[in-house]
Amino acid sequence: MAMTMAERILADHAGLEEVSPGQIVNARVDIVLGNDVTAPIAIRAFRELGARRVFDPERVVLVPDHFTPNKDIKSAQQCKVLREFAREQGLTNYFEVGQMGIEHALLPEQGIVVPGDLVVGADSHTCTYGALGAFATGVGSTDLAAAMILGELWFRVPESMLFVYYGQRGEYVTGKDYILYTIGLIGVDGARYRAMEFTGEAISTLPMDERLTMSNMAIEAGGKAGLISPDEVTLEYVRPRAKRPWKVYKSDPGAGYVETLEIDVSRLTPVVALPHLPENVKPVEEVGEIPIDQVVIGSCTNGRITDLRQAAQILKGKRVHPYVRLIVIPATQEIYRQAMKEGLFDVFLDAGAAVSTPTCGPCLGGHMGVLAEGERAVATTNRNFVGRMGHPKSEVYLSNPYVAAASAIAGRIVHPKEVL
């Protein structure tokens, strides 16, 4: 039977010849992930169940990245729970501040997730690893506890949706624009319970970092996963990093999709998602005069080296608008060092930006850039929900790094060409 890559990965991990959408399977997981917000609840359940050992100390990954470096006493207590559990269980993949990076940038970079994996993470943006050709999906803390103990979990095999991107993209159009445009097209529940699969010539030519951005936001359309079949671009990224053997999955010819959408990227311009849903997408030229107070460039969506280079390209030799605070957050230590070596920090500092150690911090209104009442931010992050970055009466506009950098200079939301 012809199967999609999502179905094939689930079938293989469930030890079945074939599966079909709607079927419930019990499947072995390769990597189980938690962070400082979600893991404490899972660890509590682990204790309450009287469990003694995790199923595999190399495959249970804990990354304290949300409210770290500890923002207050309560956060410090939560991180302490993770740290003590990691030491007790001898977890090889626990990342303390100093090695820590934003989990969804860190795991691919460190080769912890490889193509063909089945991954569950107690963080909704776990779907990021779909860009490596892994079936990766977010779960809650109780599912995390079950997976940490058993090394397996139940899944409903999702229907798959195919997104074919074709054409030659224009200047300042990025993977972020592909995915925001797609969410605008189908809505924040357009892929609810479904696996999204991204393909086409415009994906083949997309660098790895921008593919990770696309898969990262599958959840913003309600998707269970956001898959891209591995090609030479993927394997070039994976080869020097992979900690384990990998397997390349492709969808079979004739595999069943509930829907197929074709998107001509040559017709796209940089877009912005207006408050308060990621589906409120408009071309940046059409948003009108919107003064801003803050810009954040970073997060699991757009905190990779490609993103920082794009921002620096716009900021080079320019100054941030006097009424704007620009915060740049490289997503991992490796990215941080690379940006430093390339001289990007000079560009950011000369422009008047603050550069921070890796953290999820401002993206979810935690710390390192919380918004006051009535304030507006342009962010390269993934959500613009009410109160997402701070006060319930603040606003978040989502964009790519070019637009974010340009807006920081202009003091309002602008197309990058306006500041050149």
Partner: protein, 163 residues
């Protein structure tokens, strides 16, 4: 039997609205309950009474995977969430934390804020006692019902641990 007053909310009620991330530096249910639905209705936690029911539109619980969301709703005293549809991770989390949730688009359309509502999980029907109406809903999938009969996911894990 679940019976209480209806509190109505719109489509795409996300987990940041259900429990804002600024309160996620704790997982204490009582503390989370005090901020339940705060960014949609700052007075909600003070007004809601044990047994009350949240009635919402499409895609309830979209966004983050935080299990703090169903924990906050349950600890605030809400006995059930009736929505047109639920986001996937929230659906699983509600199930795993023992918060009853029901997909019933017809009921959501008809129920008004403050209506006295009864949810019969066994018979698969939402009753509007204020208006004297009934809205049937599709019961949870058989696999999940079976897991529920075993006492939920954690009980299942406990059984497996013995093997």
């Amino acid at each position: 039997m679940i019976r209480g007053r209806a509190w109505k909310f719109g489509d795409h009620i996300d987990t940041d609205v259900i429990i804002p991330a600024r309160y996620l530096n704790t997982s204490d249910p009582g503390e989370l309950a005090r901020h339940c639905m705060e960014d949609a209705d700052p007075e909600f936690a003070g007004k809601v009474r044990p047994g009350d029911i949240i009635v919402a539109g499409e895609n309830f619980g979209c966004g983050s995977s935080r299990e703090h969301a169903p924990i906050a709703i349950k600890a605030a005293g809400v006995a059930c969430v009736v929505a047109k549809s639920f986001a996937r991770i929230f659906y699983r989390n509600a199930f795993n934390t023992g918060l009853p949730i029901v997909e019933c688009p017809r009921g959501v359309e008809a129920i008004q804020e403050g209506d006295e509502v009864e949810v019969d999980l066994e018979k698969g029907v939402v009753r509007n006692l204020t208006r004297g109406e009934e809205y049937p809903f599709v019961p949870i999938p058989p696999f999940m019902q079976e897991l529920l009969n075993k006492g939920g996911l954690l009980e299942y894990v406990k059984e497996r641990m013995k093997q």
